[in-house]
């Protein structure tokens, strides 16, 4: 066991930090508000292009697709630094983490040629068409239909809570081609296809974050299908295992905790209950960090993530929650216009236990697969 970074890893982190310092504008902390807003999405495109030119957008991708075959630690160090800086890549982090790699594994040559290079150049934003009004945690019950008609499909239905949909170029869409869990297929759908309507849902997270997306007789060629008909469940299971520890939320949570403690110290108020609560939050952040690192370590050894990835995800939820509670109780002014970054973090942190599979689903997986408790009857 060794908990130290190598010289090379430290240098890489330093390179990323130098890039961030040189590239983020002075007003970045105020701009970081509203993760899917037009302002931030436009900024993210410029930022990701610059990141790409510096070889820092997809270093862990194969050389053929613009990367340099860097190991999963490199990708995670990059993700930590980006997330801790308020995620200037915006929704493009999804391309880097799992949409690109999923297309590399399951896409046709034509799909790869069409979609991967723009991702590697940092020019394109995707959204994830998974949840529906009646299908959240019970994703397999989704109703959006893709009816085969010769060499095309007609898509009808509705998605909801779709992040970044208002500004996205392409949707990674799940739709039903047959009944049951094995009847779900994936479509790579340009968002400017006729018949798609996007409506923003005002939210507590900030401008432009979540949307409803309606599909009304949307016509897509059969060549837009990713994988075989009915292969979605298998593909998504693999993709989401990358996503489960894909966002190093602990990195920003930890930074925000130190920021809040810094405010208290300056005001001479870091004492008593604040110290104990800060220790609890810090321990939660570090536990989350080590859990996540243990999964990355497994990834380096080509070990498929098991229920430990769900435990890592839940530890991250604990970390976000602890930091959020600390800030609300001890630095309340920050959330009333006092500190834009603490405010933006607090708004986004609520998503930790909800997006990419509810925390309670992770607990179910831990109970069944890690503890081997009897399953709940269905």
């Amino acid at each position: 066991m060794d908990f130290n970074w190598t010289q090379e890893q430290q240098e890489f982190r330093s390179t990323v930090r130098t890039f961030l310092e040189a590239t983020l504008p002075n007003n970045w902390e105020a701009l970081a508000h509203g993760p899917g807003s037009e302002t931030q999405t436009n900024f993210s495109k410029q930022f990701c292009s610059a990141l790409s030119e510096a070889g820092l957008l997809v270093p862990h991708w194969p050389e053929h697709w613009g990367g340099r075959d860097a190991d999963p630690w490199t990708a995670f160090i990059l993700a930590e630094e980006m997330w801790a800086a308020g995620e200037p890549r915006g929704g493009q982090y999804m391309n880097v983490n799992w949409i690109g790699p999923t297309l590399m594994r399951f896409g046709t040559d034509a799909q790869q040629e069409r979609y991967i290079p723009p991702m590697a150049r940092g020019e394109t934003l995707w959204c994830q068409g998974f949840s529906e009004p009646e299908s959240g945690s019970d994703l397999a019950s989704l109703r959006t239909r893709a009816d085969r008609d010769g060499d095309r499909y007609l898509i009808n239905g509705q998605k909801i809570w779709t992040s970044y949909a208002g500004m996205a170029d392409t949707c990674f869409l799940l739709a039903r081609t047959a009944p049951g869990k094995g009847g779900i297929s994936i479509f790579l759908l340009p968002m400017d296809t006729p018949g798609i309507t996007v409506r923003q849902i005002p939210s507590i997270i900030g401008e432009g974050d979540i949307h409803e997306v309606f599909f009304d007789n949307v016509e897509v060629p059969a060549s837009a299908r990713l994988g075989e008909e009915g292969q979605a469940w298998e593909i998504v299971r693999i993709s989401l295992s990358l996503e489960r520890v894909g966002i190093p939320r602990f990195a920003l949570a930890s930074r925000m905790l130190h920021r809040a403690v810094g405010i208290l110290k300056k005001e001479g108020r870091f004492c008593g209950a604040a110290i104990e609560q800060a220790a609890k939050a810090h321990a939660a952040c570090e536990a989350s960090r080590l859990y996540s690192y243990s999964i990355i370590d497994q990834r380096c050894r080509d070990i498929q993530a098991g229920p430990e990835a769900s435990a890592a995800r839940f530890a991250t939820v604990n970390a976000e929650r602890s930091v959020g509670e600390f800030v609300v109780e001890h630095v309340p002014d920050a959330l009333a216009g006092g500190d834009p970054l603490l405010m933006a973090h607090h708004q986004r942190a609520i998503v930790a236990g909800i997006a990419s599979g509810a925390a309670e689903i992770q607990l179910n997986l831990i109970a069944t697969e890690l503890l081997e408790l009897p399953r709940e009857p269905r």
Partner: protein, 303 residues
């Protein structure tokens, strides 16, 4: 970064596991609150396990792994302080080692050959004579408990040495707690898997599954923080590990007993062996408040 055991660590973990397996079974007769493992102690002493931290290929991570593994047994021995604190001082310290914190009774104090005396900020070492200690028979903590009744000579440590001792007591406490929490969870999982109510195993009810899963997440965190603290030798890491261990144990103690129901109140069921040991560790070095002060000092210094 490397989160796997090296060959030497894996070998020692495997060997210790084999030894521990001989002591997995709790005797069927009721033994009260304390189940001291005299034979286990002998076996560990014979194989020189108490000194593994000093062997370069093994080191403090192996010692933490060993303490964690041994704490999962129903039988208890004084291992944590011997394996993790003793090697940090350049003094010959015969074991068992025990802590007397601000004059309170402590685990293994009645048989200790080395006492770590903690009075406020001062830390000292004493080697008491047998008549200077007595057994506390009425204790409900599931360790052999004793108190210091004499006034042995104390060699007070420098501030630097005292800090080091406190740091490694934290690592030792966290490692032992990680094992105790895991054993309590394992024992409860077994119960929830076989005990049926309303026609199905208790463990199939989501209300209990989720609570168990949350506790499993906590113990995993305690384990990683402990291994890191043992590996880096950093005072902040040690404080975080001990804080998270005591904080998690507070919850796990309550939840496991709640889920074990009346069964958990019987001495026949071994749960109390682990939970009432956890309770003894909860107050060590000032409990959560004490660890939090150390976290503030070592981790938020620059904030």
């Amino acid at each position: 970064m490397d989160y796997s055991l090296n060959d030497d660590q894996a070998m020692i973990a495997d060997a210790l596991d084999k030894l521990a397996q001989q002591f997995e079974l709790k005797p069927t007769e009721e033994e009260g609150f304390v189940l001291f493992g005299a034979k286990l102690d002998e076996a560990l002493e014979d194989s020189q396990y108490f000194d593994i931290a000093a062997i370069p290929e093994m080191g403090t991570v192996s010692a933490a792994l060993a303490v964690e593994r041994l704490a999962r047994l129903p039988y208890t021995v004084e291992a944590a302080l011997s394996m993790l604190v003793r090697p940090q001082l350049d003094i010959e310290l015969p074991r068992p080692v025990a802590i007397v914190e601000n004059g309170r009774p402590g685990r293994f104090v009645d048989t200790a050959r080395t006492l770590i005396i903690i009075n406020g900020d001062e830390v000292g070492i004493a080697h008491p004579a047998a008549h200077e200690m007595e057994t506390v028979a009425e204790s409900i903590y599931a360790y052999p408990m004793g108190r210091l009744v004499g006034t042995p000579e104390v060699k007070w440590l420098s501030a630097e040495e005292a800090d080091k001792v406190r740091q490694w007591i934290r690592v030792a406490c966290a490692a032992e707690m990680a094992g105790l929490i895991q054993a309590a969870i394992d024992c409860t999982v077994e119960h929830l898997s076989v005990r049926k109510q309303f026609g199905r195993p208790l463990g199939s009810f989501q209300a209990l599954r989720h609570r168990m899963a949350e506790c499993a997440v906590l113990v995993g965190g305690v384990r990683w923080l402990t291994y890191k603290a043992a590996s880096t030798g950093d005072a902040g890491d040690a404080a975080l590990a001990a804080f998270h261990a005591q904080d998690s144990a507070t919850r796990v103690c309550y939840d496991m007993h709640q889920m074990m129901g009346a069964m958990g109140m019987t001495l026949e069921m071994p749960l109390h062996l682990w939970t009432y040991r956890m309770k003894a560790l909860l107050s060590e070095l000032g409990g959560r408040g004490g660890q939090a002060s150390a976290v503030a000092e070592h981790c938020f210094d620059a904030a």
